[in-house]
Symmetry: C2
Subunit: 527 residues, 2 copies
Amino acid sequence: MRLIIAVLGLFAVFGLGECGNILVWPTRGSHWINLKIILEKLIDRGHDVTVLVPNPSSFMDTKESDRFSYQHFSVSMNAQDMHDFLKELVRFSAYESDQLNFLQYQIKFYELAFKHQDMAFSYCDGIIKSPELMDKLRNGTFDIVLSDPHFQCSDIVAEELNVPLVYTFHVTNTYIVEQKCGQMPSPPSFIPGAMTKLTDKMSFRERIKNILFYCTQDVFSIVMWKRMDNYYTEYFGRPTSYCEMMGKADIWLIRTYWDFEFPRPFLPNIKYVGGLHCTPAKPLPKDMEEFVQSSGDDGIVVFSLGSMIDKLPKETSNMIASALARIPQKVLWQYGGEKPDTLGENTRIYKWIPQNDLLGHPKTRAFITHGGINGIYEAIYHGIPMVGIPLCADQPDNLVHMKARGAAVVIDNIKTMQPQDLLDGVNAIINDPSYKENAMRLSRIHHDRPIKPLDEAVFWIEFVMRNKGAKHLRVEAHNLTWYQYHCLDVFAFLITILTVVIYVVFKMCKFFIMHCCFRSNRKSKKE
Amino acid sequence: MRLIIAVLGLFAVFGLGECGNILVWPTRGSHWINLKIILEKLIDRGHDVTVLVPNPSSFMDTKESDRFSYQHFSVSMNAQDMHDFLKELVRFSAYESDQLNFLQYQIKFYELAFKHQDMAFSYCDGIIKSPELMDKLRNGTFDIVLSDPHFQCSDIVAEELNVPLVYTFHVTNTYIVEQKCGQMPSPPSFIPGAMTKLTDKMSFRERIKNILFYCTQDVFSIVMWKRMDNYYTEYFGRPTSYCEMMGKADIWLIRTYWDFEFPRPFLPNIKYVGGLHCTPAKPLPKDMEEFVQSSGDDGIVVFSLGSMIDKLPKETSNMIASALARIPQKVLWQYGGEKPDTLGENTRIYKWIPQNDLLGHPKTRAFITHGGINGIYEAIYHGIPMVGIPLCADQPDNLVHMKARGAAVVIDNIKTMQPQDLLDGVNAIINDPSYKENAMRLSRIHHDRPIKPLDEAVFWIEFVMRNKGAKHLRVEAHNLTWYQYHCLDVFAFLITILTVVIYVVFKMCKFFIMHCCFRSNRKSKKE
């Protein structure tokens, strides 16, 4: 009965229009996990979904679902190259970065950024420079391109196919993309830049740091986007800006919400659909359930550093294991490495854990996480406080968001982490009730919204298909130059007018005063 | 069956929490029409609603509904004063304003603004300065104050009762309130000021006009709010800013949507719920239906200048009637004045018309309107193109929005309007299919949203009651001073540092050059 009501409710809310034909831009890893949930739902609602997949790739789990159509394309790099890149990124962020001086850090950072951009170029080449593939796509009568713009060029294909484009972003607050390409106002006084580990409440010193970071981002965007602009310009044979092309997207689906984001100005075509992959917990496998139940009143701790980390240095894994051995809770640890020597009897290692089902289990007391956005959202959904051990990319910042809301303790550096740090963190979030209360408050905010995030994401994708775009939500700022946006031309004009007026008035006053003085002088001389 | 599904769907979407106790701030006229719809829905959902009503008042139609509780308060002015004020406002805007020079216009404008503020003060006095009433309210165990802040001081009562506050705004784009008190970014390059009759697409000259208008609004806000600040400060006995108090509201329900508004940046606690009063058309009274059907294929034109205008100067009404007599459509005209001598056989005058039911009638071809937001929304809902004859307040601007979207022809000045202008306008929107197409496009945008506007308004009011506020949606900008918001202190600091560094480097260079020169001079002298 509940299912029937849910289905009828869905039809009542959305209506069932014609079914569409959706082209999906390639993505990878956790980006793909989220995207796949949306695609499954779109297929449930009768749409056809075609996914562009690099050939070969282990990153999009093409074997997992035969519900999508796949369109393969060739890339010059293979899955191992991507894997190696991610390893290098984690090594740099978690282990090497604090040994480098400012210049070394910047050089390495740009080196990695260029590598990532080269991968994007190889994806672009594989698709838009393949006449056969592009012909196939043109003949595919697609209604929309759906893209996680982690890899660029989906805007080129949308333009070539003359269909609307919807972005689905993994996480926002990157400043440059949302502000410069999306036209989202981002006052640096309360919008912290990504990677700064700042919150919306900044001291004077922190605001200095934020503004200087914005400046480095400006430099970064100039350097990185110059290459993209050249690529786009070469493809179209006319001057084309990558950022302007991005700005043409009809809807930006941001996969966060106000349970996570610091409140900020945003735009009508930007929709916050965070947590769309979250679902109620399903029953655990029998042996796992038995282990969980054996924890008694102490409950369990769920521990995962995500899919990117399958092995840790031996001393790190030993240190973690020894800390976990000292807590009364049972621990379920997702880890692909060698069994640590110090592993306690309360801890079990699994190659893979059903993370969402464990986080939704009534016995779960805490979640030790690297701070990936998907895991954080599962913890928010189930109201579980966190201990964060961030590794790279958006993870440190994600955890700062949770810490600022009192739902997490964060250990800044896995390399210098001591067993006591981890122990203190876990004990704090389990024994200090404020962490659980705050996690439950976030959970309430997450659930108490007018429309479920997955339904909202699907609604806007279907809206764009039904209405051939959503131009009525696109701010006019996209059509202004930077100086027009800030009205610098108007100010220059008004200041010029004012200066001329003041000058003329001054000259006239001077003339009249001189004239009067001259006359009175002449008079007195005559007299 | 459909009703059951709808009701079940509603419960599924919102859930039924505890029922709340809602205190409603007094308002008037068309503001009250919208607010009442929300209140009726809240009562349907089991909440108690108490409305503060000035004693006596004909503006809130207290006789119409016995579903609300009423709490009367005394005001020093009566309904006639209010009526006279509105008449004066219309006379000034529609008839007198173009005869005045800039200075005379400003003097009259401020005179009217002060009069309106005095009315608001008399409402404030009647409520917050009545110890008996305030005691009653304190004992009323209210969960929320709901207010159309057309009349101020609801924030004082919310603070006194220690309950959250939800605003429901009639229409936005007033610039000063939304930007200064709500912290909504409003770049003047594409956010036209209210009353400017500008759109989001502005030429260089129009942007100059807009910026100069923003400046006049700044002056206006300084003058008007100074009086409010004094009133608030006197009441609380501590320095209190009216604008800061407004900024404490948890949710701002704006009664427009992107079918009407130019797309613009907004904030998480600002919800666009425009058109919440719109409903499908009900059957017309029998004689009216017969008259409508007698129009045949030509259809009908619906004509109303709103409830504020019941009489027009005789020459104006005659001129309008003579123009309408020349169209093939039948006309239904809501008019309380004397029957014009030139009234055509195709035109019938009614003291009151069921406007929404007429606009939703399949025979309706056009709507002649003064541009009140409620009427415009009914036309959007039913996809009817408009001829606008704006009179005062937000009406000229409302119609500019419809004209910019190609769904209306606007006659700028009722005083100088000629029969041919009205005739041309009506013929254009009926015979040029683009107007109907654009009106239908707006209608599609209006209907095609993830949640109905009334449901969304009710959801957020209930959210605030359930969660004792919505502080997680309130931007940190509220807690910054103007110079912190714009980071002027940071820029001043950085420029100072930069200047000192440049100065020191310059001095050092000079010293070394001098030193070298001095040494080489000494050497050469020695030689």
